[in-house]
């Protein structure tokens, strides 16, 4: 991270959903920064609060949810002071399912023109030509015809390209991609990732890449934030994270990538599921599923501590890395073969 002001800084963001029965802390103190032109990943299981983070950044959190605490600074200006409308178009979002992000009753061109009208004040033929340009930019062949077609006439990959074109019509500085490739098959997924990388290079676009797919994270991002039950548990440059994961959760996630396990061994999984955080964290939320958990893990909420060999800036929120709590199992003690394994084969597997 440079000393200059980051493009977007999320600071201690807390988004809470209040229903009559309970209070769900979907995002619980998440912080990260994105600089202009870089791609930051946000990775975690379903239900870990990734999408709510994205919606919070765009000010799309609906009743009964609300942003309780924290700041979302875009170019230094806090969006949570109800400033979203001033920055509409500076941040654009690409949703997971392109089929539902496009309104089926309007043509693709119609929807792109809607954004063009608002952000570039283009109308009529000008807007149509710009929409065709945008569709060409995102790699849709025969854009002049496609511009007049309805979403159902396009394939899934084409639809996602059209959604990206719609987002680009706002001329954004930051593109939030909320699982943009999850609904697509692998070949299309690769094409969309290439497209995003190209667009980033051309327009110096910053991208927040949200996914549960570690493979996509490795391909597409510069830095990664691993999120678990509403909290960032590890943040590191992508390469360093894959080489040497420090948080037990990250280690477990990397172990469960199919390609990393020898073909004759069963794929390791993480037992259990992500807990739903219903109150402020008082312990480590991963402790019940953590193979390395020791006594203090169930009593103390871990803070981010610098980890690694000091060559890169990275932190993890785990008591194993906190000097105040002597690690009873030990990083290289018995029962932690996972860590050793991940450490030794982490760099070699790819």
């Amino acid at each position: 991270m440079s000393d200059a002001e980051p493009l977007l800084a999320v600071e201690n963001l807390r988004t809470v959903f209040r229903t009559e029965r309970e209070e769900i802390h979907a995002v619980d103190g998440v912080s990260f920064e994105i600089d202009a032109g870089e791609t930051v990943g946000l990775v975690g299981e379903s239900g870990s609060g990734k999408s709510v983070t994205a919606r919070s950044i765009l000010g799309l959190v609906d009743h009964p949810g609300s942003i309780d605490e924290g700041a979302i600074r875009f170019r230094g200006e806090d969006l949570t002071d109800d400033n979203w409308d001033d920055h509409r178009g500076d941040i654009a979002i690409v949703f997971q399912d392109p089929g539902s992000a496009l309104n089926p009753v309007y043509t693709v061109g119609n929807q792109i023109r809607e954004a063009l009208k608002i952000h570039q004040n283009l109308r009529g033929r000008e807007a149509r030509e710009r929409a065709i340009d945008l569709l060409e930019d995102v790699g849709i062949p025969d854009a002049a015809t496609r511009v007049g077609e309805y979403p159902h006439q396009l394939s899934g990959g084409m639809q996602q390209r059209a959604v990206i074109a719609m987002a680009l019509a706002c001329d954004p500085d930051l593109l939030v991609c909320d699982e943009p490739t999850t609904a697509l098959d692998v070949t299309i997924q690769a094409q969309i990732l290439d497209l995003l990388a190209d667009l980033q290079r051309e327009d110096d676009l910053a991208i927040l890449f949200i996914t549960h797919d570690m493979g996509v994270i490795e391909d597409a991002t510069d830095r990664v934030n691993v999120i678990y039950a509403g909290e960032v548990v590890e943040r590191a440059p992508t390469e360093a994270l894959f080489e040497n994961p420090q948080h037990p959760y990250t280690q477990a996630l990397l172990r469960s990538i199919p390609g990393r396990t020898p073909p004759d061994e069963p794929l390791p999984t993480i037992e259990g599921e992500v807990p739903t955080p219903t109150g402020p964290a008082t312990d480590c939320r991963f402790a019940p599923r953590c193979p390395e958990a020791f006594g203090a893990c169930r009593e103390v909420h871990p803070e981010h501590e610098p980890v690694g060999d000091g060559t890169v800036e990275r932190t993890a929120a785990c008591l194993l890395h906190d000097d105040r709590y002597p690690d009873e199992t030990g990083l290289d003690g018995s029962g932690s073969d996972g860590i050793e394994g991940a450490r030794s084969d982490g760099g070699a597997s790819r």
Partner: protein
């Protein structure tokens, strides 16, 4: 939510409704041309208009005032009556017979269909637009706005509609709104003001569903105005429901209007209204002049059934699941 006209085409019940509604609308639109005479000639100015007829007793052609002729063609029981499809003593044809005061029932009904349709369509259009925009507002903003609207609509529902109608028609009777189109306009306003709640309840659910769709979020994310999002991205998905409920409410409005004029309220005489024809004939139901109440009564039933059937047909054309398994229980539109 796709309207499939081919499904309506094979929907016998819906086609029946469409036919009835079509005939009713034709009757209302061409009311002055359809009857053997007109409201002006036969009712309003009956003592200035003249007719000539062939008097069988004197065997000469006589001239008389329409009002005098009406007195001679009254239907007031078994002995003095002009039944449907007969001529009276003055050579005038009465397709539906005459009223107790000797006026032509068909002309009365044709003119009455016009006012029923106008009040019905006006009140349904008003309540549908009110219900639609409030449902979109509630669905878009959710939370407190939604809760507030639920409270308001519950409060409106809790008011006894009939008492309110009676009170307002009396209070507004002598004001300029009350006199617009023989009181029909104020009736439409009251029906809309009290009737939107049911439609609002019905479309709020679908509107809430639509508000969760991602293209609504997408539009919000690029800064589209809330009103435009509601109109462009949500309204198309609830118009189907508005159509169904509109069609069904229209039948209810026609019954309500007829009921009011049966009680002597609502549309003021001498403007013809179906309910008043029933009222005029109710003393003669057990006599030979039974046609006076029976014909408008049957017509009201037919037309209201027609509107409901059309509503069913539209619903099934929009939502195939409602017909396939549910049968009469119906889904989708829910009514």
């Amino acid at each position: 939510m796709l309207f499939r006209s081919d499904r309506l085409r094979s929907h016998t019940w819906g086609l029946f409704g469409l036919t009835v509604v079509f005939m009713f609308v034709v009757m209302a639109v061409f009311a002055p041309a359809l009857g053997p005479t007109t409201v002006d000639k036969n009712m309003r100015n009956s003592y200035t208009e003249e007719i000539t007829y062939y008097d069988t007793q004197t065997e000469t052609v006589e001239t008389t005032l329409v009002g005098e002729a009406n007195l001679g063609s009254q239907s007031t029981g078994t002995n003095s009556r002009v039944m449907p499809f007969t001529y009276d003593d003055f050579g005038r044809y009465h397709p539906f017979g005459t009223l107790p005061n000797g006026r032509d029932l068909f002309t009365f009904i044709a003119a009455g269909s016009r006012i029923s349709l106008i009040i019905g369509v006006l009140s349904v259009a008003l309540s549908a637009s009110l219900a639609g925009s409030l449902a979109l507002t509630a669905a878009y903003y959710k939370g407190r706005v939604d809760l507030g609207l639920v409270l308001v609509s519950d409060a409106v529902m809790a008011m006894p509609q009939l008492l309110l109608l009676i009170m307002l028609t009396t209070v507004l009777a002598d004001t300029w709104v009350g006199e617009l189109y023989s009181g029909a306009f104020v009736l439409a306003l009251i029906f809309a003001g009290t009737g939107w709640t049911y439609m609002w309840r019905a479309v709020r659910g679908p509107a809430l569903q639509i508000s969760e769709r991602q293209w609504v979020d997408a539009a919000r994310s690029f800064g589209q105005k809330p009103t435009v999002i509601m109109r462009r991205h949500m309204l198309p998905y609830i118009t189907g429901y508005l159509l169904i409920y509109g069609s069904m409410t229209l039948g209810g409005a026609i019954i309500a209007i007829a009921g009011l004029s049966f009680l002597g309220l609502g549309v003021s005489p001498p403007t013809p209204e179906w309910g008043r024809a029933i009222n005029l004939g109710q003393d003669y139901v057990t006599t030979g002049s039974w046609h006076i109440s029976l014909i408008p009564g049957l017509l009201i039933t037919l037309v209201v059934t027609g509107f409901n059937a059309l509503g069913d047909g539209i619903r099934d054309a929009i939502d195939p699941q409602s017909d396939a398994e549910g049968g009469a229980a119906g889904r989708g539109g829910g009514a």
